[in-house]
Symmetry: C2
């Protein structure tokens, strides 16, 4: 019997989005040996998608490792259920209903396949390869078009009884507040702290302050990047947009801290490009809403993973997560 | 080597409150073989308290088991830290600073001692002996003078990085809302959903509705029990007090569900005596604030443990929790 050289083992990480799918072959050190992508929306039938993925990935696997060294596949996908390995009612995918994705992948590739949503995968990626190495209790917040989250407690990702835990973007931070464009809920964190939410806030605030540089842009061009540009130039309204966003985010984070008492909260995604404009008010309002025993203990940390690769790394980490 | 007969093993469960301490010798089936109490406030020095406890308990242990069958001590106490076995800055206890309680107990009794706060202990008690038997993901809410909580995910109590996780009573449900009488925070769950919060709501509402039966009582007598009596008689204001309380509680529970996706939320404590007056609005507002994937999945359940014994059973369960 020969020992397995762990450093030679690889996993396939797959990140499925509504438009694009990215994949990479990843080793135990978090190095991506090969990567590629295909258009999710080109494949209305899930079986065709898996066939196409197999045809692309299979030669890469053969090139970089033996079948024995190929430990498995990890997939991050919207509405993916960790327990059942299914994608359930994902609004942004062509594949409707409950899709037994992991089972289909295993049948095709001949290795185990595990799935979860993209934010959970990102949390695992940070724990295995990034800023959360060695942490047993942390929360990952992904602040992009939407707000996602992955929660690790006792060194384990929290999936909940049904596999859907960690939807912190949909918790209510302001009862009766801003109506969410898609869920219809009122005052959810995502309605304020996502790039989409920031855009809404910016459009409202620039209407109130005619002097703001934000008014130099046509309505359709207003987004979180433009707000950041204006804030850097010292525009008070743009700065206020981030301050308000940080307040709502900080209030939400305080509640999350009193739930699972993490040692750190990791922030990831396009919104964090705003740096201190968002980080400082977030920290201020988080601390202000914490009980004294939780104050000045929780680090707010930006992700260490490369944004382009984080989803692939996170998905691959699923394969090795115990 | 002889096998240990688990059914003969016992633990000492101790529930420390500001005024009274209750203790019981508990077996693996959750039967209390002997119990008693002493006045916490009679012992300004923690060493004297432990000596007194030892003198009372020691003969009971000798009577009900051998030293070999005595597995250990579990303690529920305010501000108890699971990791360090200390009681830290507990406002309602004479023992100030950081008290190495578990260490002192072990030295005196010669068996391991584990500690946590009372709500966490209650959650373990429900998992081992009560309504949460067999559950891996649930939340325990204790609704008494204050609001406490214990969160179980992946079959384990969540302690967080510092041992203080699960302070859901202090999460903010209404930013800028009612000021908490002790923490000073604005709009916390405890300010509304505790017996204390219900009393405040009742005093406010009866002032607005002169016809309410609540006005037949002197100010000092208004409490959640009186509100319940009036609600049973059909008093619309008293019913509204519980409806409003249930709304705030339900909104908070929805956020908790989207955090850890539990299969059930267990409710315990004096407030639940109000039965459907509080349960129905709580359920309504919880469901209303959930994303569709979480709806109609989470059971709201009343505790199955005898209120007088729950704290002792919960504390004893610490000894056997892995």
């Amino acid at each position: 019997m020969s020992l397995i050289d762990l450093s030679k083992q690889v996993a396939l990480g797959v990140d499925i989005g509504g438009t694009n799918t990215k994949y990479g072959i990843v080793n135990h050190r978090g190095e991506i040996l090969a990567k590629g992508h295909l258009k999710t929306e080109d494949y209305p039938k899930v079986e065709d998608f898996i066939d196409a993925l197999y045809n692309e990935v299979s030669p890469l696997i053969d090139k970089h490792c033996s079948q024995k060294q190929f430990d498995g596949i990890g997939v991050g996908a919207p509405n993916a259920n960790f327990y059942s390995g299914t994608i359930e009612q994902a609004p942004n995918l062509h594949w409707k209903g409950i899709v037994p994705f992991a089972e289909l992948m295993t049948k095709k590739f001949g290795v185990p396949c595990k799935m979860t949503n993209d934010a959970n995968a990102a949390a695992l990626g940070e724990m295995m390869f990034g800023a959360a190495r060695g942490m047993k209790d942390f929360i990952m917040m992904t602040l992009g078009t939407g707000v996602g989250s992955g929660i690790v407690a006792n060194g384990q990702l929290i999936y909940g009884h049904d596999g859907f835990a960690g939807e912190l973007g949909h918790t209510i931070v302001k009862p009766g507040g801003r109506k969410h464009w898609s869920t219809g809920s009122e005052g959810s964190l995502e309605a304020y702290a996502s790039a989409t939410g920031i855009t809404i806030t910016a459009k409202k605030m620039r209407a109130e302050f005619p002097d703001s540089k934000l008014n130099e842009y046509p309505e359709a061009e207003i987004n979180s990047q433009v707000v950041f540009e204006c804030a850097k130039k010292g525009d008070a309204t743009a700065i206020e947009v981030f301050r308000y966003t940080g307040q709502k985010l900080g209030e939400a984070l305080a509640n999350f801290v009193m739930f699972s008492s993490p040692e750190a909260i990791l922030l990831f995604g396009g919104v964090i490009h705003a740096g201190d404009f968002i980080l400082k008010p977030t920290k201020l309002h988080m601390e202000r809403n914490l009980l004294p025993i939780f104050r000045n203990k929780v680090r707010l940390v930006f992700s260490e993973l490369d944004e382009a690769d984080a989803a692939i790394l996170g998905a691959s980490a699923l394969v090795w997560d115990k």
